[in-house]
């Protein structure tokens, strides 16, 4: 969909967006947060493309989702393994985490509140900055957070409604915990083109 050079530029911008998200997260968690985006991919869901790895971790996941709109529109999601969610929440509340066994999640209502806040911060940064990059206004709201079980085969179905997905594979590191997640920005054709046009414009200037 896009070439290496375009991908590189996109990744560079995303690192900046995510860097800001990390900074805000670190204020919430009162500790250093290392947030990196080692990989960026654009996937066309209509074609059964082979990806470098699974769309996202299957099994129990925490998924935060919000629609964003206007000239640049789509859906943004933050997905990470439910097992790790507890670590993230505890770190943000300044609590020590215990090792969590596979079957136990023990996410209570306040945990979901914290997850909502974390997703809010991260997605705000990403979408907000995308809209700045594109010089458009984008409206969006606070994300909805869910705990779901998605089997390996269901992954694609979960994202089925959206055609182009900008997959930002992220890795958060706070305290001892390393949490791998993915930010997915699902875009329609128009919005994707706007983005690619902008990237080309910037590349043209070099």
């Amino acid at each position: 969909m896009i070439n290496e050079l375009q991908k590189d530029l996109l990744r560079e911008y995303i690192n900046v967006f995510i860097g800001q998200a990390a900074s805000m997260l670190s204020e919430i968690a009162n500790q250093r947060v290392i947030l990196s985006v080692p990989e960026v991919e654009i996937v066309n869901m209509a074609e059964e493309e082979v990806l470098s790895h699974n769309l996202f971790s299957h099994g129990h996941i925490v998924s935060s989702s919000m629609k964003f709109g206007n000239e640049f529109s789509g859906r943004a999601m933050l997905i990470f393994p439910a097992k790790k969610a507890k670590f993230l929440v505890d770190a943000c509340m300044g609590m020590e985490s215990e090792e969590v066994l596979d079957e136990e999640f023990h996410l209570i209502d306040t945990d979901f509140d914290v997850l909502k806040e974390i997703s809010n911060v991260i997605l705000n940064s990403v979408i907000g900055e995308f809209s700045n990059l594109l010089d458009t206004t984008v409206e969006f709201s606070i994300p909805d957070v869910e705990l779901l079980f998605v089997s390996e085969s269901e992954q694609k179905m979960y994202l089925k409604n959206d055609i182009y997905m900008l997959m930002l594979y992220t890795s958060f590191q706070l305290a001892e915990a390393k949490i791998d997640g993915v930010v997915i920005v699902a875009l329609g054709m128009n919005s994707l083109n706007k983005l690619i046009d902008k990237i080309n414009e910037i590349l043209g200037d070099i």
């Binding site: 530029l9 560079e12 900046v16 900074s23 250093r32 290392i34 070099i206």
Partner: protein, 120 residues
């Protein structure tokens, strides 16, 4: 004048390289894609300036600066990074850098970079 530019993004390397070559046509510039390459280049080249990112594979910017410190290399370091956290800044400043520039690199920041190298 010898300058090393270290960043895993080819986009950033290209921009900074282009800028410096234009402003300092006689400069000898080495481009590195990670901290380890930059470290080895530093030992070999003994550059006047090192412009480096922090989040890089193989060896991070922090590790690079720390290693240079440990080896008694004194040089002029400029850090260019998307990591805007206070803790990061403090850690990196302890290695004796000239300036910490936050990404994204816009025209103002690029100008600042040039000014620093010029010595203004």
């Amino acid at each position: 004048m010898k300058i090393i530019i270290a960043d895993d993004s080819s986009f950033v390397r290209t921009i900074v390289n282009k800028l410096i070559s234009t402003e300092f046509p006689n400069a000898q510039i080495k481009l590195c894609t990670n901290g380890k390459e930059a470290y080895e280049a530093y030992i070999e080249m003994e550059p006047d300036w090192l412009i480096t990112d922090l989040l890089m594979p193989e060896m991070s910017g922090q590790q690079l600066l720390s290693a240079l410190n440990v080896n008694g290399k004194k040089g002029k370091y400029i850090v260019v990074s998307a990591d805007v956290q206070k803790g990061t800044k403090e850690e990196v400043e302890s290695y004796g850098i000239v300036k910490f520039i936050n990404k994204p690199l816009n025209p103002d920041k690029l100008q600042e970079l040039i000014n620093l190298i010029r010595g203004e």
